[in-house]
Symmetry: C2
Subunit: 380 residues, 2 copies
Amino acid sequence: MEPAIKYRLIKKEKHTGARLGEIVTPHGTFKTPMFMPVGTQASVKTIAPEELKEMGAGIILSNTYHLWLRPGEDIVEKAGGLHKFMNWDRGVLTDSGGFQVFSLAKLRDISEEGVAFKSHLSGEKLFLSPEKAIQVENALGADIMMSFDECPPFFESYDYVKKSAERTSRWAERGLIAHQNPATQGLFGIVQGAGFEDLRRQSARDLVGMDFPGYSIGGLSVGESKGEMNRVLDFTTPMLPEDKPRYLMGVGSPDALIDGVIRGVDMFDCVLPTRIARNGTTMTSQGRLVVKNAKYSEDFRPLDPKCDCYVCKNYTRAYIRHLIKADETFGIHLTSYHNLYFLINLMHQVQDAIEQDNLLEFREAFFEEYGYNEKNTRNF
Amino acid sequence: MEPAIKYRLIKKEKHTGARLGEIVTPHGTFKTPMFMPVGTQASVKTIAPEELKEMGAGIILSNTYHLWLRPGEDIVEKAGGLHKFMNWDRGVLTDSGGFQVFSLAKLRDISEEGVAFKSHLSGEKLFLSPEKAIQVENALGADIMMSFDECPPFFESYDYVKKSAERTSRWAERGLIAHQNPATQGLFGIVQGAGFEDLRRQSARDLVGMDFPGYSIGGLSVGESKGEMNRVLDFTTPMLPEDKPRYLMGVGSPDALIDGVIRGVDMFDCVLPTRIARNGTTMTSQGRLVVKNAKYSEDFRPLDPKCDCYVCKNYTRAYIRHLIKADETFGIHLTSYHNLYFLINLMHQVQDAIEQDNLLEFREAFFEEYGYNEKNTRNF
């Protein structure tokens, strides 16, 4: 049987671990490294599918936990799957719900079998197991699915993280068995192990032994420093096979994206660009710009004079500021569009830099202009 | 001097007072009768300018009161006017702020000079006079401007309405004198007089004597019945010159639009389509459809199977319901788009019916299918 997801390595960068590649899915092919916009509830907030295509998105992420609770995976399945439900004919990736159960739901109780918890919407008692998560993901019909995992806090004890990572590996194996559609949906394993090198290595070995069509790196960007994240990537990605895609979950700041690529990561996702957009904050080539600030009230330049996106070609900081101050959602639409374009386009520039073997120079120039420095390592 | 706004009568319908025409503005020409989407704060809520063009909008309305308060007309003027500020190169009409002063602002005090009131945003004491309103409208730079008027409640006493309408005529004359840009902005006079025939006639005579390039009919759709509105139109529009456009302010329900056209109205505007959209209510050829209702949760048909708009071609009731229930603003974007298209397209159908001299038959068929009847005269 042909796997649903295929990775083709095009080129390795000379001076770093970065790789140029492409991922073939049942809904199109996209180049890597790349960034995935997040459509938690089957909609990338305020953005139309046509606009996602216009900005160059090849795949988006949607959340199993949210869709399971509302509208229910049965309704999405009856609609013909997530692609048809939301009018999106390119790739879709669903997470497993694990992260949300641990971050959103209340009163959870973890056992070998799975996790009992209360819905953050209704308070209803629910139970999610590896099998149940896969069943929901099969019904949703995304091109790429995630195994059900536990994402423990980064600074949990060694003993806890060890037990948790071992269980996550057992859950991954149960998910693989439960998976009904391997010909049309590719299931990824998720490497856990927090900041512990031997646990990360063991987790990677366990999962690689199960031969998933791709591997995710979970449990990062959960409060640890950028340096910690890079340290973990340094010893984790070399454990993963070269002929499979590598996905760093929940990472979306420009510096972390570039540093992840340098360490061999192919895929990223994060709510950051749309979340900060709703607060009037934008990413520009000169660093972040809080467009709702008073100083932009008569600034008739685009958000980013170096950007060629739809928003920067047509709207001024003054107008966008006015809309956001006046609670006009079109303002948030514009900042969301720009921020998503910024990260997608950043990854296109990174692809070019890999092609030209000058990613480190690109990084230096980008960090310099964006204003990253030793004291400002968490600035997005 | 060439007037900024020209009306060309193309054809009168044989059996009613309806007229097919076109209005030439400094930002394009559009056919009448037509409906104007409302962009209160320089944005038609959730809708991009490109989408307004796609749905066939030739002109939109924006609110002087709101823009005067925020961001301030000086900022819009510095941006190059409202068209450039909001990235819209077709027609714009601004009201005078009068209606908002009387409906939104607090503690108002009306004198011959103008109206003192408190801002609904900051509580600041403000004063709006005919001259001030025109000054703000000149700075905003819309193609069509409204005179500053008082819009009294429909059921006010005869004496009050008489005094108010007479003052509105004097205010109209002061506005005409204050108007700085007659070559690029056309100022309309507003007929008032509530439900009193002699007052409406006197108001129309006063204004027509001042030779405005167009006439608005104000003080309707403020709580009176549809029958009352039609009764007022029956004796008001015949008082207005045939070679000038007629604009019925604030009217947006499908039946009132058709009945207004039959009585010789050319232009309409209303927040209704976008306001009800935000509550999950849509207009369809079979009447209104509250898509957020539970019965649509597994309904995979478009909002209106007879509609050929972007929304109806691409999204289902089930998906839109899900988005609205999940507080995803993309859902409101879709209902807003559909409702605006519905009214713009309804006016296109009305134009065809005038062309074919069968507007009464069209009205009958439309009312029947929409579900209007004697007992349901206020259904939108």
